[in-house]
Structure formats: structure tokens, C-alpha cells
């Protein structure tokens, strides 16, 4: 791999141990993926923040790195933590967990990471442009940035994202190169998307059939929240980091005008979606709690939920997960107070996947999130009922 004189100096330790370690990681991973060089990036998003997922070894590594003087040199946001950083007690989070979670966040803050603690940085202050090189790691944010925005990022691990933030660069391979972003699989959807569960079931069907980059035809949905949840579902079920959707995503046109040789073609219809929905969720009438916001909700989604419940209230508590900036915005409006009266709680900084849900006595969850149907059973040992938000509200509103 080609390194500039300056990069060589960093690798040789002339700028200290922390930068040397970060550079070494980038260079070794770059060599692994046959990158020809390093390129500058404009922002970083770091996953592996929750104490539930990284545990003591992650905490110790981050603390020791920061205590050795680690500082980020490009804007860096962090992924959701294992709890609402301000209101964790009300969630029933144990003191010991909270203490360790706070240490992780404090260490990263000391290194200059912005504690937005969200999987949707693009909704609250970190929005790249098309063709902008970034190094993000949260799977739903990566697929949204690549597909819906057209920014360029690989799916980084927590440590490689942190290393990129310290150096300001990433190895040039994978989705940083236009050629590698070309679709390989043509997906024809025959039918109509009626609600978000249809959309996420479509993602599930694609994820189950192929690991190739899909070019999806026949979806007529112009809604960034649905695209957010669609990408999140694809990424959860299949590790995909990019998709193209005809007439909707920015690169679709660039690729479909060319001579792409689609070796594989699949067709998906409404019957497939119904079958998928049965596989994604379980049957059930009742649940311990309703969870919305995986990925984190936008302000628009929260306002819509408030509208839909109207003058009624929910007989089961609804937890809406979002980022702190969006929560603050909602609290500044009248919506937060109205939702409180309707039995809806807004929780910031965390999510159904990385919070210790299994320790909170929650055994069954109703959700409209495709991604959560994948993670709640495995990461939180909870049963999932998968329903569109409109039906959830009709079932639980009184």
C-alpha cells in the first residue's frame, strides 16, 4: 500500500503511540482489502458504544486509548449507548451498568467525539453529501449513507472507525470506489407497498435470497423514514451495505443507464411479503411494551404518531427511541406533554438492540421495526410481534 512521507512517520511512531496504533490498524486492514492508499474522510460514526455489547474489554480499551492521549481530528459521532444517558434510572437500568456506560461515553467525549449517541446522525447534524468519503460503522447508518444519500463508506468496525477518527483517513477500497457500488442483482417488486411492514418485509425477502447489491424496481415510495427502515432491515438480515432503488436513490440512474449485466434476477410479490411478515414476527395479542424507533425516529415520525393516537391514549406503554437532539426538539413543542398523557415515553441515546432489555423484565415486544425483529430475539431474548404503527395504535388505543 502506498503511504505518504507523513503517513510513514505516523506509522513509525514519530507522532506518538496512539497515532501509531491507529495508523497501524488502518494500514493492516487496508493491506488485507488490497487498498492502494489511504484517503481523507470528512466524518466518522463510531459503533460499539453500549456497555452491553462491548463489555469490560471494550471499556478498558477505549479508556486506555483516551488516557494515552487519543483525540479525533474529524467530526465524529457515537452510536447509541446502552441507556438514556440522562434518564437511565427511570428505565430501570442498574447502577453498575450505568456507571460503566458513563465511563465509555465520558472517555469518548474527552477524545472529542460528539455524544449524539444515535444510529441516525444524518437526522441531527451529520449529513454528508453525495460522493463524500466518510467512515461510518453502524450498519443502518452506513446503508442509508451509501444508498439514500450516495455518500461513500464501508461498514467499519468500532475500532477501525475510531482509528479513522484519530487519523482522519480510511483505506481506499470497497464502497469508496464507484465500480464496487454497481448492482449485481435485479429485484422486481410486483405489487403495492401499503405500509412500513410491507417495505421491511420486501427488504427481508431480498436479504434472504442474495448477498449481492440489489437494484430494486417497482417500489414507489418517496419517504426517507421508510427508506431508513428498509435499509436497516436489509443490513440486519444480510450485512448488505448498499442498495439501489429505481427512481428513488441517487445512483440508480447512473447504473441503470449503463450496460449492467444482471446475472441474477428475482421477482417478489405481495404473497412473498405476507409470508415474510409471518417469519419476521410471532403471533400474539398482548405484549409487555410497544417499541418504536429502530433506527431512531425522526421528529416527523414522532409528530405523526401523536396525530394518529389523537385524543385517545394507549393501554400499553409505548417507548419511542430517538436521538437527544430530536427529543429536545419534541420537548420544546407541545408534543412531548401530549404523548406523556397518552402513555408514550420518549427515550434518547439508546435503542431496542443495545439496551439491556432482557434485564428489564421485558419478554414480548410489539414493534414496526424490521431491524428489531432480527435483533430483539437474539440480543434481548424477547418475543416480537411485528405490526405497522397504524395497526399498533388501533389495537392498543382506548
Amino acid at each position: 500500500m502506498f503511504l505518504s512521507k507523513e503517513e510513514e512517520k505516523i506509522l513509525n511512531g514519530e507522532y506518538g503511540e496512539v497515532k501509531q496504533l491507529a495508523m497501524k490498524l488502518l494500514v493492516k486492514l487496508g493491506e488485507k482489502f488490497k487498498a492502494e492508499k489511504l484517503i481523507s474522510i470528512s466524518s466518522v460514526q463510531i459503533a460499539g458504544i453500549s456497555y452491553k455489547t462491548i463489555g469490560d474489554p471494550g471499556l478498558e480499551f477505549i479508556e486506555s486509548l483516551v488516557n494515552s492521549g487519543a483525540k479525533v481530528c474529524v467530526p465524529a459521532f457515537m452510536n447509541p449507548a446502552g441507556m438514556d444517558l440522562d434518564n437511565w434510572k427511570e428505565l430501570g437500568i442498574k447502577e453498575e451498568f450505568a456507571e460503566k456506560q458513563k465511563r465509555i461515553v465520558e472517555a469518548l467525549k474527552k477524545a472529542g467525539v460528539i455524544p449524539a449517541s444515535t444510529c441516525t446522525p444524518y437526522l441531527c447534524g451529520l449529513l454528508p453529501a453525495k460522493d463524500e468519503h466518510i467512515a461510518w460503522s453502524e450498519s443502518s447508518a452506513v446503508i442509508f449513507a451509501n444508498s439514500v444519500i450516495g455518500a461513500l463508506t464501508n461498514r467499519e468496525g468500532g475500532p477501525s472507525a475510531l482509528a479513522s477518527a484519530i487519523i482522519g483517513k480510511t483505506p481506499y477500497y470497497g464502497f469508496h470506489i464507484k465500480e464496487n457500488r454497481k448492482p449485481k442483482l435485479k429485484v422486481e417488486f410486483l405489487g403495492k407497498i401499503k405500509d412500513e411492514c410491507d417495505m421491511y418485509a420486501l427488504a427481508y425477502c431480498i436479504a434472504k435470497q442474495s448477498k449481492d447489491i440489489p437494484y430494486i424496481k417497482g417500489v414507489n415510495v418517496h419517504d426517507s423514514d421508510l427508506l431508513k427502515g428498509f435499509g436497516a432491515t436489509l443490513a440486519a438480515y444480510n450485512s448488505l451495505a448498499i442498495f439501489h432503488m429505481e427512481n428513488i436513490t441517487p445512483e440508480a440512474k447512473e447504473f441503470c443507464n449503463g450496460n449492467i449485466d444482471f446475472q441474477d434476477k428475482i421477482k417478489i410479490d405481495e404473497k412473498d411479503l405476507e409470508k415474510a411478515k409471518k417469519e419476521m414476527g410471532e403471533e400474539g395479542e398482548e405484549a409487555d411494551v410497544i417499541m418504536i424507533g429502530c433506527p431512531h425516529t425522526s421528529a416527523k415520525e414522532i409528530a405523526m404518531i401523536n396525530e394518529m393516537i389523537g385524543e385517545r391514549k394507549l393501554r400499553k406503554e409505548m417507548w419511542i427511541f430517538t436521538s437527544k437532539p430530536i427529543k429536545v426538539l419534541i420537548e420544546r413543542s407541545n408534543i412531548a406533554k401530549e404523548l406523556e398523557r397518552k402513555n408514550v415515553r420518549i427515550i434518547a441515546d439508546t435503542c431496542p438492540v443495545v439496551a439491556p432489555i432482557e434485564d428489564l423484565g421485558i419478554k414480548c415486544v410489539v414493534t414496526n421495526s424490521g431491524k428489531a425483529t432480527f435483533y430483539l430475539p437474539s440480543a434481548c431474548k424477547a418475543k416480537v410481534i411485528f405490526m405497522p404503527i397504524r395497526e399498533v395504535i388501533e389495537r392498543f388505543a382506548i
Binding site: K28, L29, T53, P57, E60, G158, P159
Partner: protein, 135 residues
């Protein structure tokens, strides 16, 4: 006395000498290795119950969650790490873990040339990476 040197690709530099712990099954460090003891606890793994502490660990590749990198770092912290890791293909999880923990690591070798319990010497520098079977 002839000694055989098997060359590979350097991931993390270092020199180590010890006894081989060999498997042809991939290892998921997250959920598969107990950091505090160094024991393999991966469900159904052929090495389940054995300790990787102070061994020259030879396996084809890593698998499972990327948190595995932090587990490898944790092994070093708790003094339960292998002396070196030799793989067919060290993907991101193992590469990252070896570098963070500073555990000598190399890959791109045919691991079938090595056997369980034999004594080997591992030499990994910026210029070369090889494992030598000590007879």
C-alpha cells in the same frame, strides 16, 4: 537437524515460542472464548473446554461479532491470551484484535502443515513472517 520454515503474511509483529493448539474450525471470540480464563466455550467447538492461554493458537479464521476484537484485547489484559495466532485468513475481527492487543499474528499459510501439541517458534517482523517447527 533440519528445521522447516513456513512463511506467511505479517499481521502483528513479535516473536514467540510455544506449544501449538490446533483447530480447523473457526473461532468466535465474542461468546466463544472466556476472557477471564482463556477457555474456549463456543457451543459445539472441537476445542471446547481447552485453554488458549500461552498457546500458539492455530485456526483458519475468526467468525461472529466484531466485538470479538475487544475480547482478544481483553485476553491480553487478563493475561489469558495465546502467545501468538496463526491463521489461514485473519479477517477484520482477528486483525483488529491482534493489533489492539499486540499479540504476534500472521496469516496466509496452509495451517495443515502444523500439528497439535508440537513445539514451534513464530517470528514476525516488518520484513518477514514465518513459523518454524522445533524438533
Amino acid at each position: 537437524m533440519s528445521s522447516e520454515k513456513i512463511k506467511g503474511n505479517a499481521i502483528m509483529e513479535g516473536v514467540a515460542e510455544g506449544e501449538v493448539l490446533y483447530t480447523e474450525e473457526s473461532i468466535s471470540f465474542f461468546g466463544g472464548v472466556d476472557m477471564k480464563t482463556g477457555q474456549i466455550i463456543q457451543k459445539g467447538h472441537e476445542l471446547k473446554g481447552q485453554s488458549i492461554k500461552d498457546k500458539i493458537l492455530i485456526f483458519p479464521k475468526g467468525s461472529g461479532s466484531t466485538v470479538g476484537s475487544y475480547v482478544i484485547y481483553g485476553l491480553k489484559k487478563y493475561n489469558t491470551a495465546p502467545k501468538a495466532m496463526i491463521l489461514e485468513n485473519a479477517e477484520t475481527i482477528i486483525c483488529t484484535g491482534a493489533i489492539l492487543a499486540k499479540i504476534p499474528c500472521m496469516d496466509s499459510i496452509d495451517i495443515k502443515a502444523l500439528k497439535n501439541a508440537e513445539k514451534v517458534k513464530v517470528v514476525i517482523t516488518t520484513n518477514e513472517a514465518y513459523v518454524e517447527i522445533l524438533r
